[in-house]
């Protein structure tokens, strides 16, 4: 049980990243590979600053800015230099690898002896319980903020940018700036997941981001199947399907490990899950 509970907790810690992918993938139709880099960036900066005893709220603020900068870099390369979105993401992700190494100074930083965010709730003596509270607080806060943002006039313009750029420009929206802003928000959210996960697993590792974008894409797509099954219109509830997707994805992986699959195969399993989630609806469609 303990094992599945921590799988759920990890899923919750990755929800912020899921929300970010929801923005880049579902709103702007960009599979944003910067995610791999900005997730590790969030973790790397968090670890480096925790070692130096910087207060956690300050760290949170800094990693949000770092993630946003990564998104802005990809966005500017994509919209101003007009490179393909995938290539722009790959460029930034690859250079972030070196930047992350530079920030951490080595490839792995253990966070066992540093202060960590769940310590704020030290009065709850169970570590898992502390994390549950921390993660639910984060998810609620981000969910409220995002649902609000997407309903504002700015949010309407942002959602429209991904669906009909010509029309949105004729409505006086600078769609290029809108994309950059969207990618900034998406990667800031991704960095928050890096911030949470490194404290949850008590270390930051230079390789922790490899393939994490696939986890995000798969989670959003799993959520998407709920959206179409229940014909969900409300933006707020659509966002919640991302939470369900993230938890479901981690649980599937937990089951795979439980039945004794070699952990070396985890990335392949992740890819396989995404392939199934993305591919089956396509096959169904072509069969019709």
């Amino acid at each position: 049980m303990e094992f599945y509970f921590s799988a759920i907790l990890l899923g919750l810690a990755l929800c912020s990243l899921g929300f970010g992918i929801y923005i880049s993938l579902r709103i702007f139709s960009i599979p944003d590979i910067t995610t791999d880099g900005s997730y590790t960036l969030g973790a790397a900066v968090t670890a480096a600053l925790l070692l130096r005893g910087i207060p956690i709220p300050v760290i949170l603020l800094i990693i949000i800015l770092c993630g946003a900068f990564a998104g802005i870099a990809t966005g500017i390369i994509h919209t101003r230099m007009r490179l393909n979105a995938l290539l722009s993401g790959i460029l930034v992700m690859t250079s972030l690898y070196s930047i992350n190494l530079q920030i951490m100074g080595r490839s792995n930083i253990p966070l066992i002896n540093t202060k960590r965010i769940e310590g704020t709730f030290g009065f709850l003596h169970d570590n898992n319980l502390q994390w549950l509270v921390v993660l639910l607080l984060f998810i609620c806060l981000i969910w409220v903020l995002l649902s609000w943002l997407l309903k504002t006039d700015f949010g309407v313009a942002m959602r429209a940018t991904g669906t009909n750029e010509v029309m949105v420009r004729s409505m006086g929206v600078n769609t290029l700036n809108m994309k950059v802003t969207g990618l900034a928000i998406a990667n800031a959210l991704t960095a928050v997941s890096g911030f949470l996960v490194c404290q949850f697993q008590q270390f930051s590792d230079i390789n922790m981001g490899i393939g994490i974008v696939l986890f995000g894409l798969g989670s959003v797509m799993m959520g998407e199947s709920l959206i179409s099954a229940f014909k969900i219109q409300s933006i707020g509830i659509r966002l919640l399907t991302v939470v369900a997707g993230c938890i479901a994805f981690r649980l599937i992986i937990a089951v795979a490990l439980e039945v004794g699959i070699n952990p070396n195969w985890l990335k392949a399993i992740t890819a396989l899950i995404v392939l199934l989630v993305a591919g089956i609806p396509q096959l169904k469609r072509s069969a019709q």
């Binding site: 609000w148 943002l149 309903k151 504002t152 006039d153 700015f154 309407v156 313009a157 959602r159 429209a160 991904g162 669906t163 009909n164 010509v166 029309m167 949105v168 420009r169 004729s170 409505m171 006086g172 929206v173 600078n174 769609t175 219109q233």
Partner: protein
């Protein structure tokens, strides 16, 4: 209201497939004038609209709106004056957004899109009243995604949206090309009504000579990127369909 001076536009310039789409074209539209432009494919009609709207920049020449030189202004900045209806009904609305969301954007065409929730009950009611006028039953579909509506419904919506937030110039690029005859009529009647009610300066590009003879206060015929015929309201009234057809021979 609208001045285009000496507009020239090449496509694929300096390549083997170079096309001269507009050839030193000069056009002046006064306030409340409703010009209908006809011409065969490739005559430069749509290029002219796209240059006015700012989708492309001209190779030569200047464009002024209401005395402001907008020649190098980007399309989204010109939306302050210009509203558009596109040939393809799909282009005028955001398909994944509800009808209400679409109207919200149209309502804010010249205003900043800020951090407040603008879709409240009073906004909903005003949109309901506006779409009810169309008699298409859209007042019951405010929360429907625009992509689920028919081409005629979407084109009528685009027109309504274009008329919001006080535009000065309305550009209609073959708005009925993709519609059946009944939907075409609804859309054209609505366009004519909005243009006269809101005192808009308008340009309608069309292939349909019947529509060209029936609507508008000025008739322009283009060929090879130049204006070949330019009839004022009086002359336009007196020209027969037959005569118009003879331009294309």
């Amino acid at each position: 209201m609208l001045q285009a001076e000496n507009l020239t536009k090449y496509f694929n310039r300096d390549t083997a497939s170079q096309i001269l789409a507009l050839d030193h074209l000069t056009l002046q539209l006064n306030e409340k004038e409703f010009a209908v432009i006809v011409g065969s494919n490739g005559s430069g009609k749509s290029t002219l609209l796209n240059l006015i709207a700012g989708n492309y920049l001209p190779d030569e020449g200047r464009i002024k709106i209401n005395g402001n030189d907008v020649t190098t202004k980007q399309d989204y900045k010109r939306s302050k004056w210009i509203a558009r209806v596109f040939q393809d009904p799909v282009q005028g609305t955001a398909p994944d957004l509800t009808l209400l969301d679409n109207f919200r954007l149209a309502f804010l065409r010249t205003k900043p899109k800020g951090f407040r929730i603008g879709i409240n009950s009073s906004f909903r009611n005003s949109v309901r009243e506006k779409v009810a006028v169309l008699n298409l039953g859209l007042e019951y579909k405010l929360n429907t995604l625009a992509g689920k509506l028919s081409g005629g419904q979407r084109q009528a919506l685009t027109l309504l949206m274009a008329s919001m937030d006080d535009p000065k110039i309305l550009l209609l690029d073959e708005p009925t090309a993709a519609l059946d005859p009944r939907a075409s009529e609804i859309v054209m009647e609505l366009a004519a009504h909005l243009i006269s009610k809101q005192k808009l300066t308008a340009i309608l590009v069309t292939h349909n000579l019947r529509i060209a003879s029936h609507y508008g206060s000025r008739l322009i015929m283009m060929d090879k990127g130049r204006i070949m015929q330019d009839l004022d309201e009086e002359l336009k009234k007196n020209i027969s369909l037959h005569e118009m057809q003879s331009w294309f021979v």
